[in-house]
């Protein structure tokens, strides 16, 4: 429809939105059946996940073709920028919910169960032996002698100044390398672009690998699990969702790298690159929050 609107771009009817809806629908059904304890659900979830991959590759290849054909004007570019920025903001708010849970547990619920403030009777009557400390190594229900606990007790937590500090360095460096790649792109330096992007991707996956080894260590040696009370819950949910976002980001960077090698993007027209770079900085900033509030303080 682009030629009838000289100033505007309106995409033709597209099958991708409904494909996307169905892919998510199938995944949700599969996930729900799986959680209810049927292996059949896992199979459906797999189908849904496959459909989601098909969706992303299909939808984005349409967009890339339109972009290469020159269908997009500056206005479309700006719409994409608004879209991506507010999508990232929504992601920030998603993490905010879990940070909220972390702060609530540390400031309110754990001290209250330990007898602070007006909640003294809870402490006295339910778990008089419970001591409020953070990291919470022993869950309240494990402090009753001879009682049973629903949760794994932690032997040790992961100290901030080991692998997490190294990971901080890795992610911060990857923020630098992706910026260097952007500078190279703006100077039309294709070689620099590809190599700095490659370095970013390597750093990204290195981070994920180190996180995975830390998880294995925590599960097998430290007794720190998702089911280790509120410390384990907040620890794994925050770092887990972050790790998932890093994996997504690194995958997106890989696609951008492949496109860069193929010769996509010009020094003035490369919003896909910028969008992924924004996303990458976002996972970087979230990590800093995690490093400070989950590992360090």
């Amino acid at each position: 429809m682009s030629e009838s609107h000289s100033a505007y771009f309106i995409p033709e009817p597209s099958r991708w939105p409904i494909v996307g809806t169905l892919a998510l629908f199938v995944s949700f059904i599969g996930g729900a059946i799986m959680l209810n304890g049927s292996g059949f659900g896992t199979f459906i979830l797999g189908l849904g996940a496959g459909a989601i991959i098909y969706l992303f590759s299909g939808w984005f290849s349409d967009v890339i073709c339109e972009s290469i054909r020159g269908s997009y004007n500056r206005q479309v570019d700006t719409s994409f920028r608004w879209g991506m920025s507010w999508f990232i903001f929504s992601e920030v708010m998603f993490f905010a919910a879990f940070f909220g849970a972390l702060f609530y547990a540390r400031i309110y619920s754990v001290p209250w169960i330990g007898g602070e403030g007006a909640k003294l009777p809870t402490h006295e009557f339910l778990w008089p032996m419970f001591e409020a400390i953070w990291p919470l190594m022993t869950t309240p229900d494990a402090t009753i002698e001879g009682g049973t606990t629903a949760y794994n007790q932690i032997k040790e937590v992961i100290p901030a100044w080991g692998v997490p500090a190294v990971n901080t360095l890795i992610l911060l460096s990857s923020g630098v390398t992706v910026t260097l790649a952007h500078w190279s792109l703006k100077k039309n330096n294709r070689k620099g672009l590809c190599w700095w992007l490659f370095a970013t991707v390597v750093l990204g996956f290195l981070f994920v690998t180190l996180q995975a080894t830390e998880y294995a260590h925590a599960y097998h040696e430290l007794g720190l699990k998702l089911s280790s009370g509120i410390y384990g819950s907040t620890f794994f949910m925050l770092t887990g969702f972050h790790g998932f976002h890093v994996t997504m980001g690194a995958t997106m960077l890989t696609v951008i790298l492949a496109r860069s090698i193929k010769g996509h993007f010009t020094h003035e027209n490369h919003f896909a690159f910028e969008a992924v770079a924004w996303y990458w900085h976002f996972v970087d900033v979230v990590w800093l929050g995690l490093f400070i509030f989950v590992y360090w303080l």
């Binding site: 000289s6 619920s109 009370g229």
Partner: protein
């Protein structure tokens, strides 16, 4: 997908539309998507309404008459989820889809494919949610607020409930992103922010609320999911968590959510009252700032939903005062609507009737809200029928009346035909009378101590429950008139002019009725004369 190929054969068609089922499934057109949203909302309005009828039938008399208590509680739970996420929100988004591009002078929404996905998610998300009725353990029955630990006792429906919420959240976030991109980026030359029609303003602010809170809802239900299936202890004190924490996280979403439901309604009323008072909106700028203030404050009042939960006193006080302060910008809005009508040459066509009754009846809901915002007093009202009366006043003769006003106001623009004014007026008067008969007695019931979400009650509450139920059935039946008016109007009727209403101003009224498939093919130049008023 190729524009070039499709276009070669179609140069001579001025206004060609895609045809068949594909027109709807693959649509990238804001009007078609808007229509789908509105039709879906109407269907869900009757689905949710049918559940309300079951509730009112059961409560007609004390004792257990028709349904078992678990099913009754499923009815209250799913009625709320359907009405909030299936009727009021989609109706608001549908109006936004139809009107915003026309009001700001653009051909369509900024991200049309995303727009399509935002809509199509809805029927599938509700398939997930409503399928729980047929599962072991039944549909969710612990209230739409999904408080743990009760909600964790749900059977096989539990993960379906959680994923339905996730799915709806995705739809809302995508829709909100689209609205922000559209208004910020697609305005016609000369359409400055302070010339935007108020409906557009309220929608931008609503979109920000959606983007900021829907992810928090997603996070809170994700924690429910992991507590149930993966051994986390967010909401279990035995593991160091706290069930009350869920309420905090939930209402951090939940309170802005009530403004998500009502702000677009404010916008609609702010379009309609000036048109039928034949006067510009009084205090346009203060309306914008009041709307923004309400939205901003809505992030700091959430715990007034949980005054009785045992918060520290400082918390109770903070949330009480913060809640009270929202009355100030809301008062500004009510004042401005009344001042717009002051000395106007008013006529009372159906949209205006709904809009004026919105101002009056929404204010009643606002006042009962203030009553419950006072912490010590809330201890008396909490979880009684008083709260049920309160939020139904702000949502039914509040949000839904405004949405209906909007439908009557814009229906001639959409279809090109005038609706049947006589039937519209009958619909209004029946709705206005019976909605009060339905909800006003619930104030008395609540003050006398009748608890909400219970299928049985003490015999002393019988009379007012009967009155309320009769009002409910009559209100529900009256809504069939709306369906008839809409169908009749789509099929034919007196030809509508471009401006439709004598006092209506703004870009949308400069387009033909019905408007072309793509609203503005070249950007219109906006001057003071073509701006909102």
């Amino acid at each position: 997908m190729s524009e070039a190929v499709i276009h070669n054969g179609h140069h001579d068609h001025h206004d060609h539309k895609p045809y068949g089922i594909g027109r709807w499934l693959f649509s990238t057109n804001h009007k078609d998507i808007g229509t789908m949203y509105l039709v879906f909302a109407l269907i869900m309005f009757f689905v949710g309404g049918a559940m309300a009828m079951v509730i009112r039938a059961e409560l007609f008399q004390p004792g257990l008459q028709f349904v078992n208590p678990l099913f009754f509680n499923s009815m209250t739970t799913i009625h709320a989820l359907v009405m909030i996420f299936g009727a009021v929100m989609p109706a608001g988004v549908g109006l936004a889809n139809w009107m915003i591009p026309m009001m700001i002078g653009s051909p369509d929404m900024a991200l049309p494919r995303l727009n399509n996905m935002s809509f199509w998610i809805l029927p599938f998300a509700f398939t997930l949610l409503l399928s729980t009725f047929f599962m072991p353990g039944g549909a969710p029955a612990g209230g739409w607020t999904m408080y743990p630990p009760l909600v964790l006792q749900l059977g096989d429906g539990f993960p379906f409930l959680i994923f339905a919420i996730h799915f709806l959240g995705i739809s809302s976030i995508l829709g909100a992103i689209n609205i922000i991109a559209t208004v910020f980026n697609m305005r016609a030359p000369g359409m400055t922010f302070m010339k935007l029609p108020l409906f557009v303003w309220t929608w931008i602010i609503t979109a920000f609320l959606l983007i900021a809170t829907m992810p928090v809802l997603a996070g809170s239900v994700t924690m429910l999911l992991t507590d149930k299936f993966f051994g986390t202890s967010f909401f279990s004190a035995a593991g160091g968590g706290d069930p009350v924490m869920f309420q905090h996280v939930f209402w951090f979403f939940g309170h802005p959510e009530v403004y998500i439901l009502i702000l677009p309604a404010f916008g609609i009323v702010s379009q309609i009252i000036p048109a039928f008072a034949r006067k510009p909106l009084f205090g346009y700028e203060s309306m914008v700032y009041a709307t923004a203030s309400i939205a901003f404050l809505s992030f700091f009042v959430w715990a007034h939903h949980m005054f009785t939960v045992g918060m520290p006193l400082t918390g109770e006080l903070f949330f009480m005062y913060a809640t009270m302060s929202i009355a100030v910008p809301t008062g500004v809005k009510i004042f401005n609507w009344v001042a717009t009508m002051w000395k106007g040459s008013m006529t009372f066509e159906t949209p205006m009737l709904f809009a004026v009754s919105f101002v009056v009846l929404f204010s009643i809901g606002g006042f009962t809200g203030l009553m419950m915002g006072i912490t010590p007093v809330d201890f008396q009202y909490h979880d009684t029928y008083f709260i049920v009366a309160h939020f139904h006043y702000v949502l039914v003769p509040g949000a839904i009346f405004a949405l209906m006003a909007g439908v009557y106001f814009w229906l001639p623009k959409w279809t090109g035909h005038m609706y049947d004014e006589r039937l519209g007026k009958i619909h209004f008067w029946l709705s206005a009378i019976f909605v009060n008969m339905l909800f006003f007695p619930q104030h008395f019931l609540g003050l006398a101590g009748m608890p909400r979400r219970i299928p049985d009650y003490n015999v002393q509450f019988t009379e007012w429950n009967m009155v309320s139920s009769i009002g409910g059935f009559a209100f529900g039946l009256s809504q069939l008139i709306l369906v008839w008016v809409v169908i009749k109007c789509v099929r034919g009727g007196q030809k509508a002019t471009d401006q439709v209403w004598e006092g209506a101003h703004g870009l949308e009224w400069t387009l033909p009725s019905p408007p072309p498939f793509h609203s503005f093919t070249t950007p219109p130049q906006v001057t003071d004369a073509t701006a909102h008023s």
